[in-house]
């Protein structure tokens, strides 16, 4: 005769085994990054010259490289790209892209948001507002940060992030998009697109950055535009 405790223990085992198998079956394993028909290559995606803007290869000064920070970035991102573009009128805009092919889990491997990583490097974030840039093909949600370093270097930032092929500003929207991909068995990739410039007049800098983004988006190849902005 089987003791009642043994019977109940077997029922408990069955329940736990069921959940273990369910979780195993529903856990996405395929990387969207590998399944993309057009693989993401940041350096090739961004044209070196477009509209009023030219890439300035000499301009990497003023960038603070922290070796510890650098090591972390290498670990969490599959690709990174930093460029400075200069306009015909001499305005400078810094672009920084970070792409992580595997956003599955393990929060340490997920995108780092500027409102977190700017302060970590000593910047103060004075203001953070979410907004959008409207395009004929859709709307690009962006966040605009007013940052200042050491009370002297004012660097307004416009940024957005991509979760798979959808632009999000993180938070629950990102989780929802990740959940949708996971139902198809896919692990999303993630991209951070950051545009910044130096200047005390935040409104003017944000306008400059928006102008830059508009010209850049217009110059991107359609498949890169979808991958980098979610716009068609």
């Amino acid at each position: 005769m089987i003791a009642p405790t043994t019977r109940r223990a077997c029922a408990g085992f069955a329940a736990m085994a069921f959940f273990a198998i369910t979780a195993g079956a529903l856990t996405p394993t395929r990387l969207l990054a590998d399944a993309r028909p057009h693989k993401i290559a940041l350096a090739q995606a961004l044209p070196r010259a477009f509209g009023h803007w030219r890439d300035d290869p000499a301009e990497m000064a003023g960038l603070i490289v922290d070796p510890q920070q650098e090591e972390v970035l290498q670990r969490i991102y599959s690709q990174q790209l930093t460029r400075t573009y200069v306009s015909e009128r001499g305005e400078r805009v810094m672009v920084s892209l970070a792409y992580g092919a595997d956003q599955s889990k393990r929060e340490g491997l997920q995108l780092h948001y500027p409102e977190v990583c700017y302060p970590a490097q000593g910047f103060e974030v004075k203001a953070s507002r979410s907004g959008a840039i409207d395009f004929p093909g859709g709307r690009l949600p962006v966040r605009r940060l007013e940052t200042v370093f050491s009370g002297q270097r004012y660097e307004p930032v416009t940024y957005w992030t991509m979760t798979g092929d959808e632009a999000t500003l993180g938070g629950w929207r990102k989780k929802v998009v990740e959940f949708r991909y996971s139902l198809q068995g896919e692990i999303t990739d993630g991209l951070l697109f950051r545009v910044s410039s130096i200047g005390r007049d935040s409104a003017a800098e944000f306008a400059l950055q928006e102008h830059f983004v508009r010209e850049l988006v217009a110059a991107l190849r359609p498949e890169d535009r979808l991958a980098l902005t979610g716009l068609h």
């Binding site: 109940r8 085992f13 069955a14 736990m16 393990r106 929060e107």
Partner: protein, 293 residues
């Protein structure tokens, strides 16, 4: 039914426990492997294995009370509810990458096992090690991000003002401290989030082992650990600032950095013992009319 368990000698009950342990292994061995390769290797979540070991040890130590023979029987209904709750949390957490749900589900799952074997009394007997497991869950990144920055600024602010009072040439902008010719960046680790959680865990553990009868003292100490860990972190930042100022950058970033970490835990320990001693006298003064056993 209820007398059934009582009639059997304890040895006869090994098999059901083993069956349940096998079920838990199905769920949590993959999780444990992921943790040991991922979150727990980072400095920030390093207390995880220690907390797990302490929880298991406490469960084992109390096994006589938890698995006491007597006229208690398992409750299938309540156990099923706990299994389903834990299972949903587990599946959601594991498939969507929420450590909080995946690792947190171990608490209802263990409670379900105890409930099905021995009923609510066993769950009550094991409440502390079960809840203690909260501290082994890797903290959600959003929580860490939300707390780290304000704490860093607060630590830097207090450290700056203390050193300013002593007439040192110090200035601060955000989390950058300028002392003499040196510039220091107060790093994320200095915010003390990790220290806070580790101290809170160890503090609760201490309270549980010591088993104070006074609730004022228990709750008071548990709450006071928060400011204590803050003060300990301020002491560390001040110490590092002074080391850099007097002995140079190499000393501040070198072996003395590790030394400052040691000072952090020593000062926290002394503050906790000191506070505990003070709290011990508190109920005596006002507790005349209160039923303090």
């Amino acid at each position: 039914m209820s007398t059934d368990a009582a009639r059997r000698p304890p040895q006869a009950e090994t098999l059901p426990w083993l069956i349940l342990a096998a079920g838990l292994a199905c769920l949590y061995v993959p999780t444990l492997v992921d943790l040991l390769h991922g979150a727990w290797t980072s400095e920030q979540q390093g207390q995880g294995p220690l907390v797990l070991a302490l929880s298991v040890w406490m469960l084992w130590r109390n096994r006589a009370r938890i698995d006491a023979p007597g006229p208690r029987s398992g409750r299938s209904g309540a156990a099923a509810a706990l299994f389903v709750l834990g299972g949903i949390a587990y599946v959601l957490g594991r498939t969507q990458g929420f450590w909080f749900f995946e690792v947190g589900s171990v608490i209802p799952m263990l409670a379900a096992c105890l409930m099905t074997m021995r009923g609510p009394a066993a769950v009550r007997a094991a409440w502390f090690p079960l809840l203690f497991m909260i501290f082994m869950i890797p903290y959600p990144a959003t929580l860490v991000d939300a707390l780290t920055q304000p704490m860093k600024i607060a630590v830097s602010y207090v450290a700056e003002h203390v050193l300013h009072v002593f007439g040192l040439p110090i200035a601060r902008s955000g989390v950058i401290i300028q002392i003499g010719q040196y510039q220091l960046l107060v790093a994320d680790a200095c915010a003390g989030l990790n220290t806070l959680f580790t101290l809170e865990a160890l503090g609760l553990m201490y309270l549980n082992v010591v088993r104070h009868s006074s609730w004022t003292r228990n709750v008071g100490l548990a709450i006071l650990i928060v400011p204590i860990s803050f003060v300990a972190n301020v002491i560390r930042v001040i110490l590092l600032t002074l080391i850099t100022y007097w002995f140079g950058d190499d000393a501040g970033q070198g072996f003395l950095h590790g030394f400052a970490g040691l000072v952090l835990f020593l000062s926290a320990l002394l503050l906790i013992i000191g506070t505990d001693t003070l709290l011990r006298f508190a109920p005596r003064r006002d507790g005349a009319g209160r039923a303090v056993p």
